[in-house]
């Protein structure tokens, strides 16, 4: 049952997008999307963690006892996130202090454990890598879109650069409720857009 690389990639980024299809990883989507810069670093962190965790879990899949797969996956993910955190603290101390606890929270990101459990455990390392990266990219795209709107409407800036015109800031956009509204709108648009594809694949 070899699945083509292209299909895995498209599934991860769009058809099975972790945010608006699987509705996973919502916690960090709501928490880190009020400023674009922080969101971008978070996304890079997730792409790295997802990629290496999927490859490792896939490489170990034949020796991992079935009943111990969650505990060993969690251990692998945690180890890689700690490594990431150390590198950020050593080489990018400013960004590391801005992100605060959120890098550590990648450990509990449902997408990582979800992809490891659902895909990497049953597939060879290379497809697992493609799946890990594309899922994380799909997550990143949605997060960046939400962050772009939230920062622009809430702070009047994009990645810290002021917009050329002035308007009343939508303060609610930078607070938690703004994240819920934006997420719901993105899911709605994406599902409405993807509707035709879903119907044709059913036939």
């Amino acid at each position: 049952m070899a699945i083509s690389t292209k299909k895995i990639a498209l599934d991860g980024v769009w058809y099975n997008n972790p945010i608006f299809r699987q509705v996973l990883g919502i916690c960090s989507t709501l928490a880190v999307t009020n400023v674009v810069t922080n969101t971008a670093v978070m996304c890079i962190g997730l792409i790295y963690t997802n990629a290496v965790s999927c490859v490792t879990a896939s490489a170990l899949r034949s020796v991992t006892p079935f009943r111990l797969r969650i505990i060993s996956s969690t251990l692998i993910i945690a180890a890689y996130v700690i490594v990431l955190q150390n590198f950020l603290m050593a080489y990018l101390p400013d960004i590391s202090s801005q992100l605060g606890p959120y890098v550590g929270l990648i450990i509990t990101n449902c997408i990582v454990l979800g992809r490891v459990e659902a895909f990497a455990m049953q597939n060879k390392p290379v497809p697992a890598l493609v799946d890990g990266v594309s899922s994380a990219v799909g997550y990143s795209l949605v997060l960046l879109i939400i962050a772009l709107f939230r920062e622009a409407l809430g702070f009047g800036t994009i990645a810290g650069i002021s917009l050329p015109f002035d308007f009343t800031r939508w303060t609610i956009m930078v607070m938690a409720p703004g994240a819920f509204f934006m997420l719901a709108i993105v899911v709605w648009i994406a599902r409405w857009w993807g509707m035709t594809t879903e119907e044709t694949t059913k036939k």
Partner: protein
């Protein structure tokens, strides 16, 4: 049999990945510690109004700090002082601390040598919400406190008022939109610590800095 195999598997995998993380940690810990040390020293220099380039090397920061800054233990807290070329005190810096939304907020506040105004404010550690409460680190917010006159009060109980609006109130600074609890926390910790420092100001003035070794 599978029981023993399972235990062996977990043992091996835990050993491998713990080895990986501790290896990386050992390799990078010196650098992380130096970063942290340099960050704190830079914040101390900044709050004391000693100019330096942001590109300054860690060694340069240490040299500058030992040239202009001395510190002393004063009861439970530390006091830092900066000196001019003649060895006279220019500013004092005090650690301040308070309860934020998610955890404790720590910072440094500097006062002029007469204890009459705030000369600088910086936060050294906090866990406020990124993008909201964490904006207390931004320069525009901290700079508002510079020059606030401590010989008068915002209200009978307060030296400093952190609140948007009420433009004519004395010693008022803008709070952060969407971070009411953090803004109030900053106001509380400042007022309490200013009060504490001002009651001790004669003792602090009497400190003999000359006899202290350089930091």
């Amino acid at each position: 049999m599978s029981f023993i195999r399972n235990i062996a598997f977990i043992f091996v995998i835990a050993f491998l990945f713990a080895g990986l993380t501790s290896g990386v940690n050992m390799a990078l810990s010196k650098r992380i510690e130096l970063n942290e040390q340099t960050r704190l020293s830079k914040q101390l220099l900044e709050v004391l109004g000693i100019p330096f380039s942001s590109e300054l090397s860690p060694e340069g920061v240490q040299a500058l700090e030992s040239k202009y800054v001395k510190s002393i233990k004063f009861g439970p807290m530390a006091i830092y002082a900066s000196f001019d070329d003649k060895g006279l005190v220019q500013r004092y810096a005090f650690p301040i601390t308070g309860k934020g939304l998610w955890g404790s907020i720590q910072g440094l506040m500097s006062l002029d040598k007469d204890f009459s105004k705030i000369d600088g404010l910086i936060f050294t550690s906090h866990v406020e919400t990124p993008g909201l409460g964490a904006r207390i680190d931004e320069k525009w917010f901290r700079d508002q406190f510079r020059g606030l006159d401590l010989t008068r009060k915002a209200s009978p109980e307060r030296y400093v008022l952190v609140q948007s609006g009420a433009k004519d109130a004395a010693n008022r600074v803008d709070s952060i939109t969407g971070a009411t609890i953090t803004s109030t926390a900053v106001e509380k910790m400042l007022n309490r610590d200013i009060q504490r420092i001002l009651t001790e100001k004669d003792k602090i003035r009497g400190i003999d800095w000359q006899s202290l070794p350089k930091k």
